[in-house]
């Protein structure tokens, strides 16, 4: 009996030894391949991407993702970045936070990404603690004011004015341009997500400061196809202006239903509620006079930064009619990230680039000229909000027209 037991123990011991030996190999392998320079002598830098293509915000998420991919393709087309083998590996997470977490792990552990281009507010906020402990710089398409908090999100960067700053800019414009004897009144229309509610408290606080009265708030689902009851409620308070924090789908619903109900409130959308998609969905006559934040340029605007995009489109046999403003937005986000990688690569010529080095690169970006595609951005170790500036535009004759230049509510 004793013999049997000791035999069993011996076998188990051997098994453990074998297993730990396997483990040893595994843990040893990264150190041998830490210098991942390929046969061409270039250092590989992998940037991870989280896209929403099939999810709730896929209407604006798809062109944004295409813009990001296009910029990396453009770089490759132009011969890439000196000494670097830049790669963007992105996946669709369908606006599901648990899915984003799984994909993030995959990008980090399997693809060995050293920086991430993200998407939504909910998932960016859900990942901020994780990216901080993994030290991966994260540029998101979410401009939530929460991400400005360096203590809680030390690796997140905002590449355009935050939603709150966009709201403040609208309020400043309202105060300066309001006609009539009574003080301006305002309603807020948003969805019940981290994205929708992100700027609400800040807008209300700033409205109080500048003397705009917030008379009503309505929650409208991000995928709503009907909003008449909320709009009827809002109409009772008869606000002069209404700020919309949605993406294209729900914004179109609001505009269409407002037209049906004959509401004459001036609707003004934050950046994801503005763009060509609105006009495409509701038609030029309904969209006429709708205003919105234009954080980025339209493809048809004559901007110096557009030359690169045109060059890319020409090579692909496409024209500017194939893309829209959200494409430009994705392009700009990718461009800013690559800029940081370039700076980091110059500063640290040896070994693989790491997350903290790219963060340093981002933090040393000063007044980066984006050729009018977006407001110039600057970062610093104590400031990860790229800019406070944004533009306002209006739909005129079925086309968005900017009515201001890039400005900040602090100007």
């Amino acid at each position: 009996m004793l013999k049997r037991k000791s035999l069993l123990g011996f076998l188990l011991g051997v098994l453990l030894l074998i297993l730990s030996a396997c483990g040893g190999q595994d843990s040893a392998s990264p150190s041998t391949s830490s210098d991942s320079s390929g046969s061409d002598g270039k250092r590989t830098v992998v940037v991870g991407g989280l896209y929403d293509i099939t999810g709730g915000t896929g209407d604006v998420g798809t062109p944004y993702a295409e813009g990001e991919k296009a910029y990396f393709e453009y770089l490759e087309m132009k011969g890439g970045v000196e000494g670097l083998n830049l790669k963007l590996i992105g996946k669709d997470y369908a606006y599901q936070i648990p899915e984003a977490q799984k994909l993030y792990q995959e990008l980090r552990d399997k693809e060995k990404a050293v920086a991430i281009l993200g998407w939504g507010t909910g998932d960016t906020e859900a990942l901020r603690q994780q990216v901080a402990s993994d030290q991966l710089p994260f540029i998101s398409a979410s401009y939530s004011e929460n991400l400005k908090n360096i203590k809680e999100s030390p690796y997140n960067f905002l590449t355009a004015a935050s939603y709150s700053d966009q709201g403040r800019a609208i309020l400043k414009w309202i105060v300066e341009n309001h006609e009539g004897d009574t003080p301006p009144t305002l309603a807020l229309l948003y969805n019940d997500t981290a994205f929708g509610r992100s700027p609400i408290e800040d807008i209300k606080a700033y409205a109080k400061e500048v003397g705009v009265e917030v008379v009503d708030e309505q929650v409208i689902d991000v995928q709503a196809t009907e909003a008449q009851s909320q709009l009827l409620n809002m109409e009772k308070k008869n606000p002069d202006y209404a700020i919309i924090q949605q993406t294209w789908g729900a914004t179109s619903t609001i505009l269409r239903d407002a037209k049906t109900l004959g509401i004459d409130t001036q609707f003004i959308g934050l950046n994801w509620a503005a763009g060509e998609g609105i006009i495409d969905i509701v038609g030029a006559d309904v969209a006429e006079g709708y205003m919105g934040i234009l954080s980025h340029a339209f493809p048809y605007e004559d901007m110096p930064g557009m030359a690169e995009i045109k060059e890319y489109l020409d090579a692909k046999g496409k024209t500017i009619d194939d893309i829209n403003q959200k494409f430009v937005q994705g392009w700009v986000a990718a461009k800013i990230m690559v800029e940081a990688i370039k700076i980091a690569a110059e500063k640290y010529p040896d070994g693989d680039l790491t997350g903290p080095q790219i963060r340093e690169g981002l933090e040393s970006i000063q007044n980066l000229d984006l050729g009018g595609l977006a407001a110039n951005v600057s970062f610093a170790p104590d400031n990860h909000a790229g800019t406070e500036k944004t533009r306002l535009g209006i739909v005129k004759n079925g086309k968005w027209e900017p009515i201001t230049d890039y400005f900040s509510h602090n100007d």
Binding site: G23, T54, K91, Q96, E106, K110, E125
Partner: protein, 353 residues
């Protein structure tokens, strides 16, 4: 030495003590030991990515076992699991972040608070059955997420709260492997508890309530007590899973606990096998890994057809749904039943009739 591959056949138990043994034969003990060793040594040879995925599987398995105690054993459908996960997550977030309590104290407290909340929402279960109860638990889902996202001063509203990883002495469980060990140990304890629960008086009462509640009541089982108890025990484990998930992702936000999560957990229990502990674990692994598998299939296909990424991505949801439907049609007994069939096949081979 007796042949390890000779299986138990027939029932030769001569005492109650033998009947109650958890592991009937030596080969069974060895089988479980080997499984245990594989589980405990996994981080040594699996990549970091897989360890992370398996941690998520283990956390889901704890929640799925909790739900199975309620739905599979006691026959009460619940669509509020997502919110109960949230209660667990927010409890530990508030206790550790706001009040500075240690994780090791806040973890059981998260379970207890969720158990209390679950018990509260279980009270209507005496009057409501089947679909009616399902809708009542759906109300729990709505009410709880509503409270979480509106009670800004405590929960931080939609922005959520930031947590930190647990600490043992001076060692922080930041690595995937260390957190994997934490969850796998808690999963084992959960399995041990729930397997034993079913062998007790309470467990038998649960089964009686599930099979025919009126008959159970005639036999003297206090329906109200056991129905609410099932909610309490089930919610305790869901709360523990919620707390583990919160410390794993290091953030809680109301969007993490929406109705989709509830449905996913229900799918885990259904696909794994109603009323089976093994089934809960298999279901949790299946539902957690299916999207990952589908994503890699999409990646593989896109390598050949890069322009169709968008189409394939949209197709992923479709395949996910289809897989679940086919499962329910062709194997309503779930993965646990498939596993049982495979075992039976080898046990009686080559004389299958």
């Amino acid at each position: 030495m007796r042949n390890l591959f000779v299986r138990e056949c027939g029932n030769y138990k001569t005492s109650y003590k033998k009947d109650m043994k958890l592991f009937g034969t030596k080969s069974e003990i060895i089988k479980w030991l080997i499984l245990l060793i594989i589980l405990l040594t996994l981080p040594l040879y699996a990549s970091n990515y897989w360890v992370g995925l398996l941690t998520l599987c283990a956390i889901s398995a704890i929640g799925a076992i909790g739900l199975n105690i309620l739905t599979g054993f006691t026959g009460q459908i619940s669509i509020g699991v997502g919110a109960f996960l949230g209660v667990g997550g927010y409890t530990t977030a508030i206790l550790t972040t706001t009040y500075g309590l240690s994780f090791w104290i806040s973890l059981p407290l998260a379970g207890i608070v969720t158990a209390l909340v679950g018990g509260l929402f279980g009270i209507p279960s005496l009057r409501l059955k089947g679909l009616y109860l399902a809708i009542a638990t759906l109300a729990a889902q709505v009410i709880i997420t509503f409270i979480i996202s509106r009670w800004d001063s405590v929960t931080g509203g939609t922005a959520g709260m930031v947590l930190s990883r647990p600490v043992i002495g001076n060692y922080v469980l930041t690595s995937n492997a260390s957190y994997y060990y934490l969850t796998i140990i808690i999963l084992m304890l959960t399995v041990l508890y729930s397997v034993n629960l079913l062998r007790t008086r309470v467990g038998r009462a649960f089964l009686a309530v599930r099979d025919r509640d009126i008959a159970a009541q005639i036999m003297g089982i206090n329906l109200f007590y056991y129905k609410v108890l099932a909610f309490i025990i089930s919610s305790f484990f869901v709360g523990i899973a919620g707390a583990l998930l919160a410390h794993y992702t290091m953030i809680v936000s109301p969007e993490l606990y929406n109705i989709q999560v509830s449905i996913q957990y229900l799918a885990m229990v259904l696909i794994g096998g109603l009323g089976s502990i093994l089934g809960s674990i298999l279901g949790a692994i299946f539902i957690t890994l299916l999207p990952v598998g589908l994503t890699s299939v999409v990646d593989l296909l896109t390598a050949y057809m890069p322009d169709l990424y968008q189409l394939f991505s949209a197709f992923k949801e479709f395949v996910f749904g289809l897989a679940i439907i086919l499962f329910l049609i062709f194997e309503p007994g779930g993965l646990a039943h498939i596993w049982q069939n495979i075992k039976n096949y080898f046990r009686v081979w080559p004389f299958s009739y």
